[in-house]
């Protein structure tokens, strides 16, 4: 069909335009710009607490905004809310489906959410009147697994799914407010901007997309406009993209690292990037110099999730070894 050919040509032209426009902004590299800064000194964090209680692999964890409580999800079918300082279990919530892949703590501290192979996002009220934690809402509409969820408030949550979409939900009514469609592969994770206006999703189509939450539109796409057909094996890398320059700034890689990154968390100033790997370790990177400045070794299996508390005082890691560790 003539029109399809035209559209294909126009698409290719636009992709080339984007590549050229990005290249035109490359008057230097982050490496060059940071040349005058010294690498951060060796960072040695110690395990301060070990949170024991899960009976199977931990798949996700999320800090509460109070920097004290955190929630973890394990395929033992439990969501546990921990006091990270005393190591006490504040709540142990049994889940209907044990195939959980993600969990989240609402900024208010009132709610937690989780989901996984049940394709649903279940919201739990931690502050119910009788003290029992119950399911408050089951958000069902995704046609694929729930890979990640993050609260905007007690009334709104964003989910990412194996059905290639992300959704903004109204928790009160249990309905979808906005569907963010565009990814060509399973959406695996999402992160919300501090002002709650945007979020970024990462997917199996090798791209990350920046979404305007209120407009419901995709503003930028990273990693996808290049021709990826030459890649015939998956190379797990860690890359830093700048939103305003609309491109990759640097890659965090080391020839001695032969495995994939499972999770990421920046320190408070952004100078350190903590990344969990399949080889049971966490590598600490100097964000500006792209050099490894520390290692957290202590788990006996893959580090599946990591998070730095809001006040920046501690890093929490969750592992397939069923333990969570607090480091600083």
């Amino acid at each position: 069909m003539g029109e399809m050919e035209q559209l294909r040509k126009e698409a290719d032209n636009l992709k080339d335009q984007i590549t050229a426009a990005r290249k035109a902004m490359q008057d230097t590299t982050l490496q060059e710009a940071a040349a005058s800064i010294n690498v951060v000194g060796r960072v040695q964090l110690k395990t301060r607490k070990t949170l024991r209680g899960h009976l199977a692999k931990i798949y996700a964890m999320h800090w509460s905004t109070d920097s004290k409580l955190c929630v973890s999800a394990s395929q033992d079918g439990k969501l546990i809310v921990w006091d990270s300082i005393t190591t006490n279990k504040v709540n142990a919530i049994p889940l209907k489906s044990s195939w959980v892949m993600t969990c989240a703590y609402a900024p208010s501290g009132n709610l937690v959410a989780c989901g996984g192979l049940d394709n649903m996002c279940s919201i739990y009220n931690l502050k119910g009147k009788d003290g029992n934690v119950k399911v408050m809402r089951e958000l069902a509409a995704h046609t694929g697994y729930l890979s990640c969820c993050r609260f905007l408030s007690d009334s709104e949550i964003i989910t990412s799914s194996g059905d290639c979409t992300c959704v903004l939900w109204d928790i009160e009514t249990g309905t979808q407010k906005t569907i963010f469609a565009g990814h060509q592969g399973d959406c695996m994770s999402l992160a919300v901007s501090p002002d709650f206006k945007f979020f970024i999703s990462g997917a199996c189509d090798f791209t990350a997309k920046l979404w305007d939450i209120r407009e419901g539109t995709c503003r930028q796409t990273f990693g996808g406009h290049e021709n990826l057909s030459r890649i015939n094996y998956i190379l797990d890398l860690c890359k830093l993209y700048d939103l305003r320059a609309d491109q990759e700034l640097i890659t965090y890689q080391d020839s001695s690292i032969m495995c994939g990154v499972t999770s990421l968390a920046p320190s408070l100033s952004g100078r350190l990037l903590l990344a969990g790997y399949d080889d049971f370790n966490v590598n600490i990177w100097d964000t500006l110099k792209a050099e490894r400045v520390g290692v957290l070794a202590g788990h006996d299996n893959r580090v599946s999730c990591i998070g730095v508390s809001s006040d920046g005082m501690a890093c929490c890691t969750g592992s397939w070894d069923s333990f969570l560790k607090i480091w600083n």
Partner: protein, 71 residues
């Protein structure tokens, strides 16, 4: 049946082009400016970063105090 598929593919292609036009029109800044802003943010906030600066044990909520104090 094949007509439906053809028009569906057309709609998908039109949407893809529309999206690419949007993304192509994004205002970009130079990498030098982005890098400088990133550098400055990290350096200015360095002293406030506990994991970077280290935490004295007396200020570390995750470490038990070494001695017992009565207040």
């Amino acid at each position: 049946m094949s007509n439906n598929n053809a028009s569906n593919n057309l709609i998908i292609a039109q949407r893809a082009v529309k999206q690419l036009r949007l993304e192509a029109s994004v205002r970009r800044i130079k990498v030098s400016q982005a890098a400088d802003d990133l550098k400055n943010f990290c350096l200015q906030n360095a002293t406030r970063d506990p994991l970077l600066m280290g935490i004295p044990s007396s200020d570390n909520p995750f470490r038990p105090p070494k001695s017992c104090s009565l207040f």
